[in-house]
Amino acid sequence: MNDNAKIRVLVAKPGLDGHDRGAKVIARALRDAGFEVVYTGLHQTPEMIVEAAVQEDVHVIGMSILSGAHNALVPEVIDGIRKAGLEDALVVVGGIIPEEDFDLLKKAGVSMVFTPGASLTDVVDYIRKNAPTRV
């Protein structure tokens, strides 16, 4: 079990998708649960997200996508953060993600996909249990 206060989470909105209701609600819930939360704001390219993740040295990256662009953008972000040295960062994705894409995303390095109806408690618990511990 991790101590929430030490876990830094980047909530990111990749691509051109403007649906930020979920991202903001999750960001708030994580903050209320005691995590340190950074929100990128909208319309981020994979490079911008990687840069923010490295700069903040985050333990967790949560990407929210409702536009269907996940297969193109998520692997690019993961590739970027691994290359940049954040090998252990936990990557989760939330949004409108068809089930047939889960495998592709998991192979790319996504540890969990949260779809509509997932509860805030589930998300918070999952991150608390699975975020990497760094010394």
Partner: protein, 563 residues
């Protein structure tokens, strides 16, 4: 001699008090199911409403209700309401390439749909061409990809633009898309007076909720005013702006916030037009609206009724509009996408039916019913058919379209209409004090209000204070794949990119350069951009080329990443 009204009200109050005492005795035997009963937006609901409650709320039949088709239009904008003309059944569609969407359009028209409604993909909404690096992975995903006049031509090929009405949901680059649409109509030989439809073109709600923006707020509002000004002169059958609460609501606003922020957006456009010297009665009749129809049946009905009343009074009293058409709030409605659940998706058919009925009882002029699978992906043909048939069943079988404002006079509905109205007016007053919606948006006021409401609602779901069937109540283990979904292939993007490369190679360079130069000059000199943009798109300038030219002059918008 008959009782005076005052005596009658006194007797009703007395009876109500006595009934309350007897009811409390009953409550001991059957305690309430919940600690409080509230609307979906958290307004306290009375168990019972009476004429006395209405009197206390200051309700006055002649002033507040009146007759359908007459001021203040609480009961609808048409005297005959749905007897004369049913609401327009207009299903939003758009995916993949222009060819794909053209096929869906034709299919919808064959099924008895009355008007078209176009969804554009994210790159188009953000003013990027399909071959932009920023478009990667997004082409054709959430709507149709339109980068050039050629795409627009394909999109409406074989559809006579003088006979259908078309709605186009686009905002940031709306002025460019409008130019392309009228160019295609011209190519079809349709005179511009005969072209009818609606451009969403409501940029303020983009900053507030939908978040597909291009330029900073003030020049962006200027573009909206450009189209209203130009449309008033040249496009008499076109609604140049559809002031939209839908996205505001979907982003988490309450019913009252949706209503107030939408009307305040409308007021901001009116103010900007008046500042340019336009006369209220010249442009107000063509302003149109778009609201969400959410779960709470009566709250939604009250919202539509209050919307018409507030707008009519503002137009008449604040701006001195004389033409009754300026007072009328004509609106499209869409059932609440956010209320659909991925869990037990067939349940969504029932949700949509209830919401559609509320929209119709609220007197909407046009309606989109969501498809049951839209929370999973873009809708399949079968799901779209069920959604359209839902409207047709209400229209043909339920009997509700036989009379005007069937719920008018319901003590509860009138009480709630007054309540929604007064709370919305309070918000509008606050926004006026801030200097109007443009200033309010720049300081993040509506954005923060909506984020708070969204979080509050999510918390209510977590504690089960609000129920969603299949999500936090009556869940069940479901088979992995319940319904088929529509999948957009990567080849759509590849083909679009090729088409654009071909276009850039083959178009006459000189005319293109001249078109872009005209746009740049007009933007720098603060002139109306409709004409120059028409010339540019006719010379095959792409969407992004025009938008980049404007970005060069106006700059871009960035939102602080607060939550």
């Amino acid at each position: 001699m008959a009782d005076t009204e005052k005596d009658t009200l006194e007797r009703i109050r007395k009876a109500q008090a006595e009934w309350s005492a007897r009811r409390e005795a009953g409550e001991k035997k059957f305690p309430n199911r919940a600690a409080s009963f509230t609307t979906w937006s958290d307004m306290e609901v009375p168990l019972l409403s009476t004429p006395a409650d209405l009197a206390d709320a200051g309700f006055d039949f002649e002033r507040d209700l009146g007759m359908p088709g007459e001021f203040p239009f609480t009961r609808g904008v048409q005297r005959t309401m749905y007897r004369g003309k049913l609401w327009t059944m207009r299903q939003f569609a758009g995916f993949g390439s222009a060819v794909d969407t053209n096929r869906r359009f034709k299919q919808l028209l064959e099924m008895g749909q009355m008007g078209l409604s176009t969804a554009f993909d994210m790159p188009t909404l953000m003013g990027y061409d399909a071959d932009s690096p920023r478009a990667k992975g997004e082409v054709g995903k959430c709507g149709v990809s339109v980068s050039s006049i050629e795409d627009m031509e394909t999109l409406f090929s074989g559809i006579p633009l003088g006979e259908v009405t078309t709605s186009m949901t686009i905002n940031g680059p709306a002025i460019v898309i409008l130019a392309m649409y009228f160019a295609v109509a011209e190519k079809q030989g349709v005179p511009r007076e005969k072209v009818r439809g609606t451009l969403q073109n409501d940029i303020l709600k983009e900053y507030i909720a939908q978040k597909e923006w291009l330029f900073p707020v003030r020049p962006a509002v200027g573009l909206v005013t450009d189209t209203i000004e130009y449309g008033t002169r040249h496009y008499p059958g076109w609604n140049t702006v559809s002031i939209s609460g839908y996205h505001i609501r979907e982003a988490g606003a309450t019913a009252v916030q949706e209503l107030a922020f939408t009307l305040a957006d409308g007021l901001a456009y009116v103010e900007d037009c008046l500042k340019r010297g336009m006369k209220i009665d010249d442009f107000a009749p063509r302003l149109s609206f778009f609201f969400d129809v959410h779960n709470d049946f009566f709250e939604e009905i009250a919202k539509f009724r209050a919307a018409r009343r507030i707008w009519a009074r503002l137009m008449k009293d604040r701006y001195g509009a004389k033409d009754p058409r300026s007072w009328m709030l004509r609106t499209h409605a869409q059932t609440a996408g956010v209320s659909l659940t991925a869990q037990q998706p067939y349940n969504n058919i029932a949700r949509v039916a209830v919401q559609a009925l509320a929209g119709i009882l609220g007197g909407t002029n046009s309606l989109h019913t969501n498809s049951m699978d839209e929370t999973l992906a873009l809708p399949t043909d079968e799901a779209v058919t069920i959604a359209l048939r839902t409207q047709q069943i209400i229209a043909e079988e339920s009997g509700v379209a036989n009379l005007a404002d069937p719920l008018g006079g319901s003590y509860y509905v009138e009480w709630l209409t007054n309540k929604v109205e007064s709370e919305a007016l309070e918000y509008i007053r606050k926004i006026d004090e801030m200097g109007g919606m443009v200033a309010a948006v720049e300081r993040g006021f509506p954005q923060a209000e909506i984020a708070n409401s969204a979080y509050h609602f999510q918390r209510q779901l977590e504690t089960k204070e609000k129920a969603m069937v299949g999500v936090n109540k009556f869940q069940m283990v479901e088979p992995k794949r319940v319904i088929p979904t529509l999948y957009i292939d990567r080849s759509v993007e590849q083909k679009q990119v090729q088409r654009l490369a071909e276009l850039r190679r083959s178009r006459p360079q000189q005319a293109w350069e001249e078109g872009i130069r005209l746009v740049k000059d007009a933007a720098q000199n603060g002139q109306n951009l409709c004409g120059p943009i028409q010339q540019a798109v006719a010379a095959h300038a792409t969407l992004q080329e025009v938008c980049d030219t404007l970005r060069g002059v106006f700059g871009i918008y960035r939102e602080a990443g607060s939550f």
